[in-house]
């Protein structure tokens, strides 16, 4: 039996089920958003060894305070907000160090070895460029490009205005283009 996307329960439905004590709903929410959070945190400069822990912390904090989520915004945006704040706390603890690591598992799997190498080099360059950006520019770029979010949602995640998010994005793109030559 094929289940279409429209048959799947929405985030608000799963949240309501979880609030009613349904653990399976919580599990489904983790499955739905874990990969996006992982990519975001890795791109935002979390140490590779800490990414999974941060994702778990994000879910725990979210599940323990779902009343803080206003159903009007997207749950994913709210999760990103929690993740971003947790990452900021970690940065404070590590005195602002941004981690830049590269593992084989992080690289995209391409069938063309030359293309794979070029892609991995470009991605590595981008990671280095991102690590040199101020955190707002880095996070706006990731949310906009990697996560495909609109400026309004980005502003909600980062606690800024859509206009400011747009400015951060353009600064980030300008710097990254210069960095990548």
């Amino acid at each position: 039996m094929i289940v279409s996307a429209t048959d799947l329960p929405s985030d608000p439905e799963l949240v309501a089920a979880w609030c009613g004590g349904d653990e399976l709903a919580a599990a489904q929410l983790v499955r739905r958003h874990a990969a996006a959070l992982t990519r975001y945190l890795a791109g935002a400069g979390a140490a590779s060894s800490e990414v999974e822990d941060l994702v778990q912390e994000t879910f725990l904090k979210a599940f323990r305070g779902l009343s803080g989520w206003r159903g009007g915004g997207s749950l994913r945006g709210w999760l990103f907000r929690i993740a971003s704040n947790l990452l900021k706390d970690r940065f404070r603890q590590s005195k602002g160090r941004v981690f830049l690591e590269i593992n084989d598992q992080d690289l995209p799997d391409h069938s063309d070895p030359a293309g794979e190498l070029a892609a991995s080099e470009a991605e590595q360059q981008l990671r280095e460029g991102l690590s040199r950006l101020p955190h707002m520019q880095r996070e706006v770029f990731l949310l906009r490009v990697q996560q495909g979010m609109e400026y309004t949602d980005i502003a909600g995640v980062l606690g800024t205005t859509p206009g400011a998010a747009r400015v951060h994005y353009h600064h980030a793109v300008k710097r990254l283009k210069e960095w990548m030559g």
């Binding site: 609030c19 004590g21 653990e23 919580a26 599990a27 983790v30 499955r31 874990a34 990969a35 992982t38 990519r39 890795a42 791109g43 999974e52 994702v55 778990q56 879910f59 725990l60 599940f63 323990r64 305070g65 779902l66 009343s67 803080g68 593992n103 598992q105 992080d106 690289l107 995209p108 799997d109 892609a119 470009a122 991605e123 981008l126 990671r127 770029f141 990731l142 906009r144 490009v145 990697q146 495909g148 353009h170 793109v173 990254l176 283009k177 990548m180």
Partner: protein, 171 residues
């Protein structure tokens, strides 16, 4: 004429599937070096860490275990700062509503002796005879409505009330 900045703003939307290039725009992206560089950057950025494996099922289990073991989950909506502020404001307005009339009443009471000072003599040094004369002199005035001169009817018996009403009727 293609506007490079307009294309730049739409690049993430095209990647996310919310927009698409026209044939002319697609051609521009291959001919304009500035746009081509940015388009490449955005495409690489869109797949950044896409190959990173996530042990989702293990994470699900870990999260559930930690949820069960941890502090009780706040299923009852907690008081947000906004609700707290609204509650505080409501409480303050109620307190003000009660306090201000009390203050007014209090100041009226405080002002009473000053207001009545010239009217009521200092009775402590008054002799019984003087007191009797004063009471006679003020009897009519006091009966006009100064508190304390109105008889307290709650203490009267049914017989007293009957007698009082018959006296009033005869007058």
């Amino acid at each position: 004429m293609i506007d490079c900045s307009e294309l730049s703003g739409r690049m993430p939307d095209v990647i996310a599937g919310r927009s698409e290039w026209s044939a002319e725009e697609a051609r521009h992206l291959t001919e304009c070096d500035v746009c081509a560089a940015e388009w490449r950057l955005v495409r690489i950025g869109s797949v950044l860490y896409a190959g990173r494996e996530v042990a989702t099922e293990r994470m699900v289990q870990d999260v559930l275990v930690r949820l069960r073991a941890g502090e009780p989950v706040a299923l009852v909506p907690r008081l947000s700062w906004r609700k707290f502020a609204m509650g505080l404001a409501a409480a303050a307005s109620v307190a003000l509503a009660v306090w201000v009339p009390n203050r007014a009443h209090q100041s009226a009471v405080m002002a009473l002796p000053a207001r009545l000072g010239p009217v009521l003599p200092n009775l402590s040094n008054v002799t019984d005879e003087q007191l009797y004369r004063i009471s006679l002199a003020n009897a009519g005035h006091l009966a006009d409505g100064v508190p304390g001169t109105v008889p307290h009817l709650g203490g009267l018996t049914a017989a007293d009330l009957e007698q009082l009403s018959s006296l009033t009727e005869t007058r």
